[in-house]
Amino acid sequence: MVNAWEVASIVAVVAGVVGFFTVMRGSAFAAHAIPNGSFAGAAFAILVGVNTLLGLGVFSLGGAMTIGLLGRKGRHDVATALTLVAMLALGALFVSLLVEYAPEVYSVLFGEVLGISPNEIAPTAILGALCILAIAVLYRPLMLSSVLPEVGEARGISSFRMEMLFLAVLALATTMTVPVVGTLLIFSLMIGAPAAARSFTDRPPVAMALSVAVALLIVWVAIAASYETNYPVGFFVGAGSAVSFTLGRLWATWRNRRTGTTKRERISQSPVWGEHTP
């Protein structure tokens, strides 16, 4: 049980940090697509008898790169949608080739945090640290490329390269979070918590910290509730993300009405972004 808290906390921190950029870049769709690639990887790993994390990692990364490359040519949303579905179809094939599959399928899709063994903490922590490190290293160029891509290009920061790098980080984050929260629900944690945070503040460091805090809260409540009721953790994560998002929106609407300004005006007046807005 203690393992569950530790692993889930690491997952929440990574989801909060990576999710912050996901929301900022509007990559909710990619965050939805990449975990589905990892589903195929997990199914393949189970089928072949390899370490699940390895399967998850390879397929997540492959899916992320495919999305990035395909997004260049055709319409971005169609390419992502079809890659996502093709990955899932592969997963469906692998699953059908397994003899006993139902419980494994369920836990890969919806998460299984209470059955986490102690030797899963270390890999999760290492991968999580790698994600945080990658974000820390890429912070400045990623921020610039996300918010003001043209300025970034002018300064030599290729939007495409940033996109590919970010997708790789997203794939890494997905790999380590899926065993806990499940492929179908990790993205709701990754966008619900940061979206809620951004409703409260615009300043990036604060928003990121708040995003992590909200994610931790959601995950802790989810584990506790799941432990009590025996209902799946994924259910509580999905519900918690929705509640956080809604509360954030309500707050933002209420505050806008009180001060009479819109978010755009507040951004242009804020000390951090004001100088950069055209």
Binding site: V85, L90, A92, F110, L185, A195, F236, A242
Partner: protein, 306 residues
């Protein structure tokens, strides 16, 4: 004759009633989804099609839990989803993506709960896979009339609002300036999409249903500009993928591992995916030719928006 066909069609293919139903239902669903899909791609709402697939999971899981046929669950779930998306929808595309994503997350979480409650009460555990990845061979003949009815409704809606839908999908402001009630058209289209997605879900599963909606349509729109041709092409690709998928799935009983078939949905999605990739070739070839002779091509061909 059977000697010639037997490598392609495994024995018993033409006699099996399950195959007849699968082919019939599959054809209808492919046509319906292809038609609606063209508008979906035009409006850039591929993510919405995805959303219906996921919320259909909630509906299907709920249907199992309540003890009703899954198709009802798909329909109800999708219609509710359409209403929710119409209400939540924000002007900024990004906002719409976020809100849709949040609703998806909540819906899938609910699906997890329903499936958990269902499987703890029953001994069968295949519900998850059936809902998510479909089972076109397991459609009972009693469901067929409902499927036909739903398909007819979708086609009727699409045909009725064809012109205003086309106009508002291509250029919403111009449509609105011409007096078209863009909002109403949007709602009707969303309803048609919801039903089409439900039909796709019953054949190839909820989370794969986007493939039938978006894939053939996107391929068709890459190959032609004319709306009617695109509709026909999309339907054609869908039907082709369905038929080949059903044939291959039936044959796969004899492939390793022997005794189980590979899922129809796997074949259908793969065929659709490969078709999409191939549909990009003519454009790529055209662009390469344009690069070689810049002066002629830029005069002959107006700038293409991608």
């Amino acid at each position: 004759m059977s000697h010639f066909l037997s490598p392609v069609f495994a024995s018993g293919f033409f006699e099996s009633e399950a195959v007849h139903i699968a082919l019939g239902v599959g054809t209808l669903v492919a046509v319906v989804t292809g038609v609606v899909g063209v508008f979906t791609v035009m409006r850039g709402q591929s993510f919405a099609g995805e959303a219906f697939g996921d919320l259909g999971t909630t509906g299907g899981a709920g249907a199992y839990f309540v003890g009703v046929g899954p198709l009802w669950g798909f329909v109800l779930g999708n219609v509710i989803a359409a209403g929710a998306m119409e209400t939540i929808g924000v002007q900024r595309a990004r906002g719409r993506d976020l809100a849709t994503g949040i609703v998806l997350g909540a819906g899938l979480g609910l699906a997890a709960l329903f499936l958990h409650l269902y499987t703890t009460g029953h001994s069968t555990t295949g519900a998850t896979v059936t809902i998510l990845f479909g089972s076109v061979f397991a459609i009972s003949s009693s469901t067929v009339p409902l499927i036909v009815l739903l398909g007819a409704i979708v086609l009727a809606i699409t045909l009725t609002i064809y012109r205003p839908l086309l106009l508002s999908s291509v250029n919403a402001e111009m449509a609105s300036a011409r007096g078209i009630r863009v909002r109403l058209i949007g709602v009707l289209y969303l309803l048609a999409l919801a039903l089409a997605a439900a039909l796709a879900a019953i054949t190839i599963g909820t989370i794969l249903s986007t493939a039938l909606i978006v894939g053939p349509a996107a391929s068709a729109l890459r190959l032609t500009r004319r709306p009617l041709t695109a509709l026909l092409t999309a339907a054609g690709i869908g039907v082709g993928a369905m038929w080949v998928g059903i044939i291959l799935a039936y044959d796969s009983y004899h492939w390793p591992p022997h005794g189980t078939i590979w899922p129809v949905s796997f074949f259908v999605v793969m065929i659709v995916f490969v078709t999409y990739l191939l549909s990009g070739l003519p454009e790529a070839r055209r662009r390469r030719r344009a690069d070689r002779t810049p002066s002629e091509s830029s005069a002959a061909r107006p700038a293409t928006a991608s």
